[in-house]
Symmetry: none
Subunit: 299 residues, 2 copies
């Protein structure tokens, strides 16, 4: 199937004038012609025009961009193929997600870091987490499940996200009389991204967070909570859903901290554990909004 210039113009968002001028002045394309000399564009041509428009929108000159091959353009844009559908919307969450995924696929750590930093700066910490980090994580997870991502790639994402979140977290100014929250994961829980996300959200809500990393025994958690003067503890449970040791840890923690101490428990598998522990009065939350509400409810 070949497109006429009219169609191509509406597909790319360029004017017919511009497309012709680019061809005339920079020999950007040589579309096929009908017997009557009309231009006929193929998919490749449309793709190239989209890439070039992206470059120009990004502030590069058409003169320079026109000298690049499609491959080079694609790399420079560092936007995934999906990105080309919405050429005008360079700073939407989708763009940051797509750019991040593309970086992961290329195993390009620097690019990944870069797109996350820009995303956080542009969207602000809260929306960034909800609209970029969480979707990105679930995307990576689904690819992980279907084995279309390697261990190395998954490690890279984790390392970069961790740094990114920690950086967000440490960028908050904490007022000296802010309430303190201790964040960690119980023994047996190695996944820490959930805990880090929670830390950032709490920071946004003006809590002063002490983050102790994953995999902490209940005795240590309660001891640290006392020592750091925390007025609440938040735990993240992501995987697995049926470890009896974790239940035991939760019970022990409730004993140590006393009946009235606020303990927030969230994460994908939290409900699985809390179902049988309702009498222990944990504050359960399914998503970040519930987490915020839980925080507000504390003192």
């Amino acid at each position: 199937m070949k497109y006429t210039i009219r169609t191509v113009a509406s597909m790319t968002g360029l004017s017919q004038y511009t497309i012709r001028a680019w061809e005339r002045r920079h020999h950007i394309l040589s579309p096929d012609r009908t017997e009557t000399n009309r231009r006929l564009y193929g998919e490749e041509d449309v793709f190239r025009l989209k890439l070039l428009k992206q470059m120009v929108d990004a502030g590069h000159s058409i003169g320079q961009s026109s000298k690049l091959t499609n491959d080079e353009l694609f790399r420079l844009g560092s936007l995934g193929p999906d990105a080309l559908a919405f050429p005008n919307d360079r700073n939407s969450p989708e763009q940051f997600i797509n750019a991040s995924i593309a970086s992961v696929v290329r195993l390009d750590e620097e690019a990944l870091r870069d797109s996350l930093v820009r995303g956080a700066a542009f969207l602000g910490a809260g929306p960034f987490i909800e609209n970029v980090i969480l979707p990105l994580l679930s995307h990576v997870e689904s690819r992980w499940v279907e084995k279309s991502i390697s261990i190395a790639q998954e490690h890279m994402v984790t390392a970069v996200l961790r740094t990114n979140l920690e950086q967000l977290r440490s960028s908050f100014l904490t007022s000296p009389n802010a309430r303190r929250l201790l964040v960690t994961t119980p023994k047996g829980q190695m996944h820490e991204l959930g805990a880090l996300i929670v830390s950032v959200i709490a920071g946004l809500e003006s809590w002063q967070v002490t983050y102790l990393g994953p995999n902490l025994p209940a005795d240590e958690i309660s001891h640290a909570a006392t020592k750091s003067g925390a007025s609440a503890v938040a735990l993240s449970l992501v995987y697995p859903a049926d470890d009896p040791d974790i239940s035991a840890e939760l019970i022990l923690l409730r004993q140590n901290l006393g009946e009235d101490f606020p303990i927030i428990v969230g994460g994908r598998v939290a409900p699985a554990y809390l179902a049988s522990l309702q009498h222990l009065d944990f504050l359960a939350c399914q998503d970040l909004n519930e987490f915020r509400t839980a925080l507000e409810g504390i003192k």
Copy 2:
């Protein structure tokens, strides 16, 4: 891809006026020109301008900075703004170590982060690692052995140090044609601080580092090395000293990468493994100086 002055200005944060003035007055660059005399900047040029801006932002004069080569600028730049200031007692490595230890004992994460950030800024990345991070780690470890530090405290130190090192690492500008180094720890090795330290040092030596976190199987390492175009792989081995699986991973890695691919192996327990694997030609290093030497010896 060559950039116009407009693009370069927005990439570096300098004004067009300034860029032209620097060129005119200090012959900082000789960008290519188009046939119509417009400046065209390459990646190298942008890199140099970024370095120079870093110098100027740090309070140095452009006149002096312009006399330095890119390599010299890179080294100086990573030392932080106060590299040339006079040290005094307040800012000796010992002070930073003591402040850090005190923060750990109090379980005061913010204070720990703060003293490490100031230490890194004041001493510069290289000396900071050698004179603060390493002594701090060995101090924590000895208290860990004698049980005078809790798991929570140890976790906090690890989490904060990790962030601190990652931050140092990502603060380097990477030269576009820098050699690439892949850093990780083999499967079974959960301790990642050694790998992070190595990453920072390599960054100081102008390598572009891809850091993949700990605990990566040999197949993944070799695959990632190929994919990221690395010219060397660095592994850190801290504990335990006698895991036969790790030896197996090392052997497999050597097979996958071929006889001549540079594999640097360091860390406390590295000698224990390498003793029986001498024929496989790993580059062993006992300390950071040996690591630097090993890096220099590559290509």
